[in-house]
Symmetry: C2
Subunit: 379 residues, 2 copies
Amino acid sequence: MTEPADPKQILLTPGPLTTAPTTREAMLRDWGSRDGAFIEMTARVRARLAALANGSEIHVCVPVQGSGTFAVEATIGTLVPRDRGRALVLVNGAYGKRIVRICQIIGRSHIVHETAEDTPPAAGDVAARLADDATITHVVLVHCETTSGLLNPLAEIAAVTRTAGRKLIVDAMSSFGALPLDLSDITAEAVVASANKCLEGAPGLGFAIIEKQALAAAAGNAHALSLDLADQHAYFERTGQWRFTPPTHVLAALDAALDAHEAEGGVAARGARYTANCRVLVDGLRALGFETFLPDALQAPIIVTVRMPVDPKFDFQALYDRLNRQGIVLYPGAVTQEKSFRIGCIGQVFEDDMRRTLAAIADALAEMGVARDGLRPAA
Amino acid sequence: MTEPADPKQILLTPGPLTTAPTTREAMLRDWGSRDGAFIEMTARVRARLAALANGSEIHVCVPVQGSGTFAVEATIGTLVPRDRGRALVLVNGAYGKRIVRICQIIGRSHIVHETAEDTPPAAGDVAARLADDATITHVVLVHCETTSGLLNPLAEIAAVTRTAGRKLIVDAMSSFGALPLDLSDITAEAVVASANKCLEGAPGLGFAIIEKQALAAAAGNAHALSLDLADQHAYFERTGQWRFTPPTHVLAALDAALDAHEAEGGVAARGARYTANCRVLVDGLRALGFETFLPDALQAPIIVTVRMPVDPKFDFQALYDRLNRQGIVLYPGAVTQEKSFRIGCIGQVFEDDMRRTLAAIADALAEMGVARDGLRPAA
């Protein structure tokens, strides 16, 4: 009943994405999760992740089983105090909204500062919200809003948050490992990300890089045993082990993916490759007649939102299916302001994959009989 | 920095355990998690898991990212009502105690019925607790308590729970797929297990087989967004998709592991193999002079607790290290009543692996100079 293994998937999605063969092959070995060799691997991966954010001094990396959302929920539940905490959540897409939903469900006091899906929050506005409400303890920012592909102004928001004496939690899910995030430059209580985005690991674990002091103060604060990062941190300190069965193969894949990340040249090189992918993709889409949702200045080199063409002959499902048969997987749109679809730039994909994708799209358009002018979105 | 892949690990642990090469090889392909092929695989795996418990009629399988504990916490948080719920937790080991801790942390009213680590709860006592306290809504039972290896009396507890008109939640983590559990015979609101125990998949996801009616009634009850199985179920109904990034490779491994389970002959054949492993192991240990913690009548064919020998020449760490160098991983003890260590019978291990392990133990004993009489535990 199993599908035949075919590693040649070009996943142009925001993750799970295309991984390297060496990353997948690292999953061919079983590990005893309480054995010394696995404890060593856990320590190594945690140190490498913290080092990627230059967070080795006062921060520590705490991984958690599950998806990125599990890690975000775990971080907020662990760090925002049950009683006297209050989060200012900056929202301009689905991931910001999801953080609001988490706060509602787990009962953390919060207010929302929302801007349009193509508009970053202005640091001055955030400073004003903080000045207005002394009870706000935390600002929560999504670094790259995968909904649209927009890059939010992390440095500016971090600066006003620090100036106001509040704590910053950064959801860096789709930027970590490809866009610079240096904890000696910006002040953040926690940065949250996952194995299967720009680090190009397999999905199954997330992590947060957290101030040790904050973890020490957070004992007993979390809303869930499984998602209690302070308890997991204390257990790491005591035993070096995960509290509950870790995804051993996925951790081994991440360790191998970090080797590849290092060999490629680290954050700068990975970011440069994605930027080149994004440039080829955006230029090629525009040459075909498509319009992108975001102006270039706001576009992170992670995922591109493409406005849905107006021509009734254009059929996104037919385009999706046609590329899918060639092993190329596109992604549906997510912005609510207008109809769109998305194409990712991340994972083990290169400029040639982008060109191949553009050629496949051009073929599909020709087959559909869509005119170049028809690719303009509805006004 | 990655350890060389070596698939020949004999993990005599309660999971993560030794998996089949075909299971690990299923992780060599990437999957788009919102793509049709992956949606199909998700539906297939969910149906196969429910069918293993004969639960296809009124139950549905809801998987969740993370370890078995994530699935147990998700099930209790989703199903035990926040306000008018009250759980009677049957405890005779660490996993029962963990359920109590979950109830404490997530704020679910509960009482504990605790017996010694070598003593199953008596159905009559449970019936009496239920008769005494009409506010109890749920009984929570650990099927096989991995702490000791003890098999709890599921059918009897299920019968008294049903007679008393209460709901039963079964933590079948280390028994599911090897010991019979037929939801047309026993009445249970939910059965919780994980991919990486007797199903011999890779770690990274758990699941619960839950009454559909209970899920419908549980909307909004969960304490955590990530662990809300009612919300995940509703999303499956609407889209066939996971709400949040699933461990795609781990799900593919489980699909392959279910192929192997079926090819072996299903639950009966897998249980028979583990029973044979357990018989060879227990007989061999006794022949060497060891004593097991549990009498045979209470021993599940999952993991064997061995009493720590009294001879000061016996050094468990030395035994562990020696076997580890041969690729055989033992497991530390967990019962609190006395010192012990554990040897698992589950995973892709066979009677010959048990004999090889026994021979390696015999060699280690000879090298330590431990006398046969010295293997008796302290009185």
